[in-house]
């Protein structure tokens, strides 16, 4: 069966891959591009650890058919660092102990980035809503919320 060519931008870089029919974006990113930052957690849209930004919008890569992102721009945690420096959200997550096992962290950070890109000074309730599709089973939501608040505050005062 012929593979399907797909071209898109991946963290600011043009990429081209060939996918099998039915391949989801998560598998395409991990196995064909080698970006291991989005994780498989459920394949059902329940956990959010595969979250990526498509044209700036938060999407679940495991529920996205890979070929539908042709010509679009994908951002993952792999592209979040600013050169050698951590993104303010990454710094805040580290400083606020907002990761335990680390498995939900890529999705949490992308959900947080989707929020702050649109709303640089969110309320606590808006943060809770923004990460409501992301599950942390180590139950560390409070440090995560505090980290996002701090990143937003730090940015506003900078």
């Amino acid at each position: 069966m012929p593979k399907i060519p797909v071209q898109f931008r991946h963290n600011g870089r043009d990429v081209a891959i060939f996918v099998d029919g039915g391949t989801n974006l998560l598998v395409a990113l991990r196995e064909l591009i080698g970006d291991m930052t989005p994780k498989f957690g459920c394949g059902q849209g329940g956990c959010g650890t595969c979250s990526v930004l498509i044209d700036g919008e938060l999407h679940l890569s495991c529920l996205t058919l890979a070929e539908t992102v042709a010509g679009r721009s994908i951002e993952t945690l792999d592209g979040m660092k600013q050169g050698p420096n951590l993104h303010p959200l990454q710094r805040a997550f580290a400083d606020h102990f907002a990761a335990q096992c680390g498995y939900c962290t890529p999705g949490m950070l992308m959900a947080a980035k989707a929020l702050l890109d649109r709303n640089p000074a969110p309320s606590r309730a808006e943060i809770v809503e923004a990460i409501s599709g992301n599950i942390c089973r180590c139950t560390g939501y409070e440090p995560i919320i505090n980290a996002i608040l701090a990143a937003a505050g730090g940015r506003a005062s900078a």
């Binding site: 080698g34 994780k39 459920c42 394949g43 945690l77 580290a94 962290t105 942390c136």
Partner: protein
């Protein structure tokens, strides 16, 4: 935020500490926030194949026929693995420490004992092709009566779940069908208690639901060994389990793990590694076996469901004088770790309280449910739930404040615990006091002044006369009506039933500090260094 209460037990602690009480960055944090922490599934290997299993649709059935003819011809299928392909297709996890009998196959052969039990494994070029082949495997089941309730499983005539344990109970010391704890005479104390309260507590199985599902990738290495990336929480345990099941020396494997996407006890059972390695052995290719989310939730081992009966005797002044417990741990169809949970549970009775008469029977029971395993304090957590519910109810029964009631009954340094070890470093009283303070819950001065280091030991250090179980038990001696803090001085220590073991050779180590750890194996009941 974390608050260290250095005022409590201040004299017992060297406060010149370099790490405790100070913030320290985790060594894996940078990897986590940059997404570069490497989990088992983040390894991409050339030519990797995918393994999926056919799972039983029946809770209990004889397998008349497993027909894989059509599946073998299905596109992309590289290998079909059956029970007969597994070198040692019977294992129990704790056999590594000589505890329990081998009772669980990697792939079912003659019988399935729970819904979801693996029967056949399929190794294919893609997950999709493996799923397509699964749909083509035909299994002819002869359904058998199933039992899902722990007490039903113990009734005469109940279906035998697991032939290794024909009475549906785990066998301790090759003889006993339960863990027994006897301390004092609970029946006599109950007979004279002012109030008796008996309650039943039923827990549900709880799935750990780690965000990363269980899985492993195994690949042939160049030197005849196999490299295995795994989500296991217990790396060396998993290495040895695989070595046993696959009947090879453990140095055949190079296990790489340590970064686990949430475990909570649900990743110690070594469910995916043996089949992934066997797949790699049989195909010569890297093989990945990872649970889907539904597999993880339905067939990943949960915390077992416990049923607990607690019967307590309490005096009008609030002293609990007897606690009698019957507990049933639902192990599911195989042992995994519930046998050990029952041992831990028995040692934990009667909770962090000094009760002069304690009686416990703890059963590890087999049913046709998903095998249960470790989860965060298993063996103790559910019992504590039951005990603390019971403490609230007892406090209410005697009209006492629940916090004060706990302080009154709390164990103290020097007290004899029901499993005949002296209580040390007890701190329940202080915990309750701080909890009351934080919750702005008023407690009276005498309870605020109580201390774990005061008023323990003495008569409370004595092992009370304890009748042995027999069908015609003599009536309880009269002095056992008394409560622990007024025990008459005539009570003698329980005579040892067996000659005392020879004294251990003197330790070459310096004497442990009074608050140092002494290793105690709750499985063997022996102290080891």
């Amino acid at each position: 935020m974390l608050e260290l209460r250095k005022d409590i037990f201040a004299d017992e602690r060297d406060d010149n500490l370099k790490e405790i009480g100070k913030g320290t960055q985790r060594q894996d944090m940078l990897g986590h926030v940059t997404g570069t922490s490497s989990y088992f599934n983040d390894h991409q290997l050339q030519g990797m194949l995918h393994l999926k299993v056919v799972r039983s649709t029946e809770a209990h059935a004889r397998l008349r026929l497993i027909d894989t003819t059509e599946a073998e011809r299905s596109a992309g299928v590289r290998r079909i693995i059956r029970g007969s392909d597994v070198p040692r297709n019977l294992n129990t996890l704790l056999s590594l420490i000589n505890f329990g009998k081998d009772d669980e196959p990697s792939l079912a052969v003659d019988k399935v004992r729970y819904k979801g039990e693996p029967i056949v494994a399929i190794v294919a070029d893609s997950e999709r092709e493996a799923f397509e082949a699964i749909a083509k495997v035909k299994v002819d089941y002869e359904p058998l009566p199933a039992v899902f309730d722990v007490e039903d499983a113990l009734k005469p005539g109940a279906p035998v779940v697991n032939e290794t344990y024909p009475r549906n109970t785990f066998t301790y010391h090759e003889t006993y069908d339960h863990q027994k704890l006897r301390f004092g005479d609970a029946d006599a104390a109950l007979a004279t208690a002012d109030h008796v309260l008996e309650q039943r507590y039923q827990m549900s199985p709880i799935e750990h639901a780690p965000t990363e599902t269980n899985g492993a990738i195994a690949a042939p290495d160049t030197n005849g060994r196999y490299v295995v990336y795994t989500s296991t929480q217990a790396l060396f345990f998993s290495v040895d389990t695989c070595a046993k099941i696959l009947d090879v020396p453990s140095n055949t494997f190079h296990f790489i793990g340590g970064t686990v996407g949430g475990g909570f006890g649900g990743k110690v059972d070594t469910l995916t590694e043996p089949l992934a390695i066997l797949g790699a052995m049989l195909t010569g290719r890297p093989v990945r076996y990872v649970f889907g989310r539904e597999e993880e939730m339905q067939y990943g081992p949960p915390r077992g469901a416990e049923r607990i009966y607690v019967k307590d005797g309490v005096m009008r002044d609030g002293r609990v004088v007897a606690r009698k417990i019957r507990a049933y741990f639902d192990s599911g169809a195989y042992t995994r770790l519930s046998s050990y949970a029952a041992v831990k549970c028995a040692a934990h009775l009667p909770g962090p309280y000094t009760i002069p008469n304690v009686y416990g029977d703890v059963y590890c029971v087999f049913t046709n449910r998903t095998p249960a395993t470790a989860m965060r304090g298993f063996g103790v957590t559910a019992m504590d739930f039951a005990i603390e519910c019971q403490m609230d109810k007892l406090a209410n029964l005697v009209g006492m404040d629940p916090m004060e009631f706990r302080i009154l009954n709390a164990y103290r340094d020097g007290d004899m615990k029901a499993h005949r070890r002296e209580a040390k470093n007890t701190a329940l009283i202080e915990c309750v006091q701080v909890a009351a303070e934080k919750a702005k819950w008023p407690i009276r001065d005498e309870f605020r002044r109580a201390s774990s280091r005061k008023d323990g030991g003495g008569s409370r250090a004595v092992i009370p006369p304890t009748p042995t179980d027999s069908h015609a038990r003599p009536p309880a001696p009269a002095q056992q009506r008394t409560s622990y803090d007024r025990l008459p001085p005539t009570v003698t220590r329980e005579p040892p039933r067996d000659p005392p073991p020879p004294a251990p050779p003197p330790s070459p180590r310096p004497a442990a500090p009074s608050h140092g750890a002494t290793r105690f194996s709750s499985v063997f009941g022996t102290r080891r260094r």
